[in-house]
C-alpha cells in the first residue's frame, strides 16, 4: 500500500470507500510494459509467420525500452514497495493446493489472500523468469547488429555460445506468447474484472476489498 493517496472513508463511516491498489506509476509501468511486449511479439513473430517487413530496428529499440522498464520495476519493487506482497511462502503453496482441490470438487473453506493470491504470485514468477531471460539474452544480441550507436561485434562469444543465447531468446519468446494468452484469459474473465478495473483506475471498492481479501494479510 502506498502512502501517496490515503484511502477515503465514506461519509457515513461504513468501511472504506476506495482502497488504493496500484499507484499511477505502477499502472503506467504495467501498460507500457504490455505495449512493449506486444510490439516485441509482433515484430518477432509476424516475419516468421510470413508477413515480411523491416522488423529489427523497431524490435531492438522496443527491447531496450522494456529492459529499462523492467529495471525500474525491480528497483521499485525491492526498495519502494513491499516485496513480501509477491513473495511465495508456505502459506501460498498450501493455498494453491487447496484452491486446486476446490476446483476439483473438494469443499475446503475459502481462505482470503493478501494483496496477491498464490496463483497470481506463481504467475508473476513465471513471467519474471521468461521476461528476464528474453531481456538478458536480447541485450547480448545487440552485439550482433549494427545500430547508429555501435558497430556489430560478434566476436565476444564463440559461435556455439551465440547459438545457446539465440536458443534461450527463442524459447523464452515462444513461452511469452503462451503466458500472454493465459494472462488475457484470466484478466478478461468476469470474475476478475475488478482487478482489470484496478489496473486502470488504481483502486477497488471497499466492498471488493472486504469480499476478496484478508485485511490482516493486505493492510489497506
Amino acid at each position: 500500500m502506498d502512502q501517496i493517496t490515503p484511502n477515503r472513508r465514506t461519509a457515513g463511516g461504513a468501511g472504506w470507500d476506495r482502497v488504493r491498489r496500484h499507484t499511477l506509476l505502477d499502472r503506467t509501468y504495467h501498460w507500457l510494459m504490455a505495449l512493449c511486449v506486444i510490439v516485441l511479439m509482433a515484430t518477432a513473430f509476424l516475419p516468421i509467420l510470413g508477413i515480411k517487413f523491416e522488423w529489427l530496428d523497431i524490435h531492438w529499440i522496443t527491447g531496450v525500452a522494456l529492459a529499462a522498464l523492467v529495471l525500474i520495476h525491480i528497483v521499485r519493487a525491492l526498495f519502494f514497495q513491499d516485496w513480501r506482497n509477491m513473495w511465495i511462502g508456505w502459506t501460498d503453496l498450501r493455498e494453491l493446493w487447496r484452491d486446486t482441490a476446490r476446483l476439483l470438487g473438494s469443499r475446503s473453506a475459502l481462505a482470503l489472500p493478501g494483496k496477491y493470491d498464490a496463483a497470481q504470485k506463481l504467475y508473476h514468477l513465471g513471467v519474471a523468469i521468461v521476461i528476464l531471460a528474453v531481456v538478458g539474452t536480447g541485450l547480448l544480441m545487440l552485439l550482433k547488429i549494427d545500430t547508429p550507436f555501435w558497430r556489430r561485434n560478434p566476436y565476444w562469444f564463440s559461435a556455439d555460445t551465440w547459438g545457446v543465447i539465440y536458443v534461450i531468446h527463442g524459447f523464452a519468446a515462444m513461452a511469452i506468447v503462451a503466458t500472454v494468452i493465459v494472462h488475457l484469459y484470466f484478466s478478461l474473465m468476469p470474475d476478475s474484472w475488478y482487478l482489470l478495473r484496478a489496473m486502470v483506475r488504481g483502486w477497488i471498492s471497499g466492498k471488493e476489498y472486504a469480499q476478496h481479501y484478508d485485511p490482516s494479510r493486505w493492510k489497506a
Partner: protein, 54 residues
C-alpha cells in the same frame, strides 16, 4: 519435429546451432489454449456443483 535450427556449413564441417525451431510455436499456443479450456471446464463444473448442492 525439430527443436533447434542449425546452419549448414558450406565447407562441409559440422552444423552450427543458430536458434530455437519455430515449428514449436503452435505447441506453445496449444499449451496456453489447453490451460484455458481445462480451467474453464473445471470452474464451470465447480459452479454447477455449488448450485445443485444447496
Amino acid at each position: 519435429m525439430e527443436l533447434f535450427r542449425y546452419s549448414r556449413s558450406i565447407y562441409g564441417g559440422s552444423d552450427q546451432l543458430i536458434g530455437a525451431s519455430w515449428d514449436l510455436l503452435p505447441w506453445f499456443v496449444g499449451a496456453a489454449v489447453l490451460v484455458i479450456v481445462v480451467h474453464a471446464l473445471l470452474s464451470a463444473l465447480a459452479k454447477w456443483r455449488a448450485r445443485h448442492s444447496a
